[in-house]
Symmetry: C2
Subunit: 361 residues, 2 copies
């Protein structure tokens, strides 16, 4: 089992490779997720990387292929970014309640966390290598040893070149002011703000500029959004949207599902996150299934790429209650009502209204 | 009444100032909307502009305030862009069916059109003027004479400076290869691809770089998205989202509402549009209220800022049928189910599933 400095209360979805994240009560109140609580999504084991022989390869449609040691990377300009990462499978459990999703991790709401990252902007490395005409995508390959369907390979994925050159994407060696730990991708990981977590490749070993998206399994087959009538037996892999930017989402962290709370004024708290370069404009809370909404207050005012923490006070009568939340992004886009409406057989990108059932006593 | 070369079958929502657009059967099949069919949203009368004395003022937080004649503008670099414009109030009628919206135009689905625009990129004009530190928004003012609540003023609005400098925004003097007509903003209008139509200010007379968004009525009060519990009597104007980028949307153009069609194979056709810089990834059609979906085929493959035309074949039994469509953007974001879920007292940004009720005979 993967060894790392993790909090004993993490919700564990898979012990090896380790997949788990913080329960709502521990996410609550932390704008920056503490190191030991940050969720872990691993597709394979954590590789042992020898820092002295480590090299980052930059190749493909570049003027000057590079092989950079960690010392070489230290000589490049640095930057910092606060970015919330969320697994594309976060909130899959709610989709599973609508219709089973057999072969994927049953994430609740714990596959999301927020950190301060620092490192070398991807743009600096690409400028050093020189972008050749025809390049459209930056493909990343990790050092992990992953197995899918009988094949062993390294995790990988890609992002459009425009995003790679935007200055927003970081090759991070530091998280929350500390050196990056092995389980989070040491010595170097990609951080792609505004995108699903899978594109923030850990244990980065290679950046390849190319005309097409990565043909790695996790870009070409997994992490695609398929129409609802597909399943693993009838899927046409070409018919799925390759996930990149994420849709607007929000989650209630308190009260928690099945909690008993005193009737009367109940403070509801949670987070909201907009994908791409959009911001969160508003969060609404309802205790009557969306007939009436209360607008939440933002606790902290931040820009794009990070969640906005919010709270709202509802006046609840005694008895069973269902509290729901929905966010709006800065393009006036809100969330769909039910997880069944966005169900897909891989269980990605669930951004339905989040629901918490409580008893008011 | 406004005189212009308009199609006799335009749906007229207001004769003076003229507000109207093309019925579904005339939008159908045209990727580029013919000139005489392009929808018109006028807030005031069409101004008489003398081309020889016309000047475009560029002021505010600029290094060199400019006063440009049409001849001056002709000496700047030119560009062309195909962009679909949609009024923020398009599809308001469906919201009105949920709850009345008394003081706004009852747009059906006709406040949207697509054109080829050409002119001077806004970026070129701003480069000539020089952007001073502190500038965050580009405010536009028109030459029309508009009246709201007893005050007479010019229409105006603003966009973030980043968008203004993106190269995507055009100061257009040509539409579909012809000189811009007065009703569409001659001699010069703004075209802001990916934004609600209101920011594409017609009869442009002034561009002001400033720290804050425009304080024009149509930026500061109108074209804001308010929470559902506000109306004109209790509204807090500061609590509304200033509309800019638009949410993903789609509309069925054929068959039309209340049509009678032969039972059996029915071809459904329409358009889909994603806001900001996102693209349309998929369109789904259902004849059973969203239980089962058919994925539509795209007829024409275009990039961002333009609608994607689609078609799908459904097998319909005889009797009354409701056909619905929903689109997904490239960030895996789809539309909400019901107009009531996004209702707001100004009736903006309705992107609920579009519904057409037909009888199969």
């Amino acid at each position: 089992m993967t060894q790392f400095d993790k909090h004993p209360d993490l919700i564990v979805r898979q012990p090896d490779p380790f997949n788990g994240g913080p329960p709502p009560n521990l996410l609550l109140g932390n704008f920056i997720t503490p190191y030991e609580l940050f969720f872990v999504r691993s597709h394979g084991g954590v590789p042992n990387v020898d820092r002295s022989s480590y090299r980052l390869t930059v190749d493909g449609l570049v003027e000057r292929p590079l092989s950079l040691s960690l010392d070489d990377l230290q000589r490049l300009p640095r930057a910092a970014v606060t970015a919330t990462l969320q697994c594309a499978g976060n909130r899959r459990q709610e989709m599973m309640a609508h219709k089973p999703i057999p072969d994927e991790l049953p994430w609740g709401t714990e596959a999301v966390s927020n950190a301060e990252w620092s490192g070398v902007p991807l743009r600096e490395v690409l400028a050093a290598a020189g972008v050749r005409p025809g390049a459209r995508h930056a493909a990343f390959t990790g050092l992990d040893d992953t197995e899918r369907h009988g094949h062993r390979f390294n995790f990988g994925g890609s992002i459009p070149l425009d995003k790679a050159l935007s200055g927003e994407v970081l090759l991070a060696d530091s998280m929350n002011g500390q050196p990056l730990q092995p389980v989070h991708g040491a010595p170097l990981r990609v951080v792609v703000p505004g995108y699903v977590g899978a594109r923030s490749v850990k244990w980065l070993s290679r950046i390849t500029l190319q005309e097409k998206p990565s043909d790695n399994y996790f870009q070409a087959r997994a992490y695609r959004l398929f129409p609802p009538h597909y399943d693993k037996d009838n899927v046409d892999w070409e018919k799925g949207l390759m996930l990149g930017e994420a849709p607007v989402n929000s989650v209630i962290l308190s009260p928690q599902e099945k909690a008993t709370v005193p009737a009367g004024k109940v403070t509801v708290r949670g987070w909201a996150l907009a994908g791409g370069s959009r911001g969160v404009a508003r969060v609404d809370i309802s205790a009557d299934g969306g007939e009436n909404w209360t607008v939440a207050d933002f606790i902290k005012d931040e820009g794009v790429f990070v969640w906005r923490l919010w709270e709202a006070v509802l006046d609840l009568a005694s008895g069973p209650q269902e509290i729901v939340c929905r966010a709006w992004d800065t393009a006036a886009q809100t969330q769909p009502e039910r997880a069944g409406q966005v169900w897909n057989f891989k269980g990605y990108a669930n951004n339905a209204w989040h629901r918490v059932r409580v008893t008011c006593a």
